[in-house]
Symmetry: C2
Subunit: 440 residues, 2 copies
């Protein structure tokens, strides 16, 4: 079914029938590919129950769009059904006035949970935790624990790893449902539980939490406050969403744009242009530096106009070498392999790599340039390649690490900025070498 | 503790004591940051039990390194403890001779599982599925199902979503442990299970499977063969690993390198250089096109050497606009928002975005260039910026989509190749406009 254009009214019924055959995940996927007005129209026409079950699988940006087109009453009903952490994520993006109206409509319990979550800073663990969970005490028997799980878990988000808290609600362990099922019903939790559980602080960075869940293959990790008391649980599905979001952001920044924050086709052309404009403009301003460098060497250019022929090749290669090294380091930092204290070690490695690459390219380039432009030019190009590649790799390695040290997202100063820095300094190197070799 | 350099022998004991205080996940994390010889040394010195429990949390590349330094007997014991899917992933990277020796040492069951998994193509769902799982029949009662889970799940990888298979092992539903615990023990599975379960084909692409698990918030998805019979289960932790791996690969390629496939610090400098060399060389060869374009316009350059001053700025901006559009589309394709059939729609959107960006930059650039280089030059630069930005966005949008249509990873032809293509065509545009405007 082709949903890419805005459907005409007579097509809507067909679309609706087709969607009614899908499960909620499938419906959400197809809705995501519609333009905004069509999405709102189709969603309103879905059978009530399917619409309700589909809502939670939609991107928060689409949830926001859809709510805007619904009556307060219907909007509240959709929002009441959401898990508290998903609801907090959605509310974080909504205008305060809408949040106030929706909160007022929620049941008292859900209203309280949502307010608690919204009280934590954006990007913190607290924002994505589920505040409703089954909590156990170390003195319980396995049978009692299972009984509590049965009683409580019907109304809340599914989770299979439960925190065990002792005195004054302090986390003392975790236990998985599987272990409860395998243990003798009469044994004490204290004997069955994992007594050295991993936990995260409520104000910890979401990405770090997500990486921990991934590294340790956890289904959920308990969230504790400053006193070590359990206040929530972060589940693996939320961890996956955080990682995907972070990775989209990194890739956007490596590609010189601000992250869109919503699915591609639901971003208008003007918004797309706006997200890119700032970066592009900054980079243009930065690259006026290249104009000045060339202006300073205009005499040399006048004397040997052939020098101009190799400018794009040299700075392009420098840019590529810089991009190679910076994206490697940005990724290494994202997954926790490279840290700020590795600055020197990384700079050294990358400088050597850049030198090796430069030597190889320089060696391979000598013959063709000699044939094309003579011996002196071959020497200039080879020496420039070696210097520029080394410089580019070094700059590409240290800029993201310095950014992290200054608490800036490393991806912000990766490939595009490295390229621009390397362009100007590469030109300088090129003309200095050319002057020396060609006696200009 | 500073583990970044190779430790001296007297330091090893200290390191060992420090590590013994960590949990296996923490030990794995610290080991990952050591250089290879130090890692092998420290691992051999770990208490046996801790070493055994740590092994599964290590990167496959590190597992491979460590096995090489152990006796066959000790290696087999570590490998026997692994989950079959993790073991298959590791074996996929090992030399055939080593795999043969290790397989021979495994218990018959584990040997069989591993051989089955290794029989599926790389990157397919079959490679990462767990072939050991608790399977239920629709006619069972809930009580019987829980009893079977208790009996069987002790020896196998934990999972909480179980497939229900009917006649001739055909998948008819899935049921979660939570639903079993909440249902009356006497009710039939057929009434409790989800009768329209999501499943994946055994030869399906791993990334697609992982995206499904993420989109549908699944804990596990059943894997079926061509006849719809259940052959395995893919769990959410494997899905997360697949996504992270795919994203590392995309980022590496957007940054013009081959993916490392192993943690940064465990890659030698020579291997780093080798992974980048091929790309860099290809791009240098491609960018000799720019030399030819400039060579063709040498007369114009000679006549107006000032033209050279703006070459880096113009092609840099084109490269950035191309990178913006290509990374956006590469990501959109990775997360399934943009598909091959969206080619025209995407090309149109991006062309308009590029045009808008070009017009804005051109308008902003007129005044400074006029002051710096005169009115005609200002006109040349403004027109070139508009054309180059539009062209770059268009090329950046369609190259990744065409790559996907040709079954090539879109990231391979993203930013770096787009930039190089745009460099050459941008120069052509620039000099044609300059010739026309300046009457060269």
């Amino acid at each position: 079914m082709n949903l890419s254009k805005s459907p005409k009214t007579e097509e809507l019924d067909q679309i609706r029938q087709n969607l009614a055959r899908l499960d909620p995940v499938g419906v959400a996927e197809e809705l995501a590919r519609l333009e905004r007005p069509a999405r709102a129209m189709v969603f309103r026409l879905l059978p009530r129950d399917l619409a309700r079950r589909t809502f939670r699988y939609l991107d928060p940006a689409h949830q926001e769009d859809l709510l805007a087109g619904l009556s307060d009453e219907r909007a509240v009903r959709l929002v009441e059904d959401m898990d508290p952490d998903d609801r907090a994520r959605l509310f974080g993006d909504l205008p305060a006035e809408v949040v106030r109206r929706l909160l007022a409509g929620l049941s008292p319990d859900q209203r309280r949970f949502t307010s608690v979550l919204l009280g934590y800073p954006e990007e913190s663990a607290g924002r994505i935790m589920t505040p409703e969970f089954v909590q156990l005490e170390p003195g319980m028997t396995v049978g009692e624990a299972l009984e509590r799980y049965r009683r409580r878990s019907a109304e809340i988000e599914t989770h299979y790893a439960l925190p065990v808290a002792g005195d004054r609600n302090r986390l003392v362990g975790t236990v998985e449902i599987r272990d409860l099922l395998l243990a003798a019903p009469g044994s004490r939790l204290a004997e069955v539980m994992n007594g050295e559980p991993r936990s995260v602080k409520v104000d910890e960075d979401q990405e770090a939490v997500a990486r921990l869940i991934q590294a340790a293959d956890l289904l959920a990790v308990p969230v504790v406050d400053g006193e070590g008391c359990v206040v929530g649980l972060i589940t693996v599905d939320d961890a996956m969403d955080v990682l995907t979001l972070e990775e989209s952001e990194d890739l956007a920044r490596v590609g010189a744009s601000e992250p869109l924050g919503r699915p591609y086709f639901s971003v208008s052309i003007f918004r797309l242009a706006r997200r890119r404009m700032v970066w592009l403009l900054l980079l243009v301003v930065a690259s006026t530096l290249t104009v000045h460098v060339l202006d300073a060497f205009e005499d040399s250019l006048q004397a040997a106009v052939g020098l101009a022929l190799f400018i794009p090749l040299l700075i392009g290669t420098g840019g590529n070498a810089g991009a190679q090294s910076s994206t490697t380091i940005v990724r290494g930092m994202a997954v926790g392999e490279v840290r700020v204290r590795d600055l020197l070690r990384t700079a050294l490695r990358e400088t050597v790599v850049g030198l090796l690459l430069g030597i190889m390219l320089g060696a391979l380039g000598v013959a063709p340039v000699w044939l094309f432009a003579g011996r002196s030019m071959a020497l200039v190009i080879a020496l420039s390649l070696v210097t520029i590649c080394t410089l580019a790799s070094l700059v590409g390695a240290i800029m993201p690490i310095l950014a992290r040290a200054a608490d800036v997202d490393p991806a912000v100063v990766s490939a595009p900025f490295v390229t621009t820095v390397v362009d100007a300094s590469g030109l300088l190197v090129y003309f200095l070498i050319a002057r020396a070799v060609l006696n200009l």
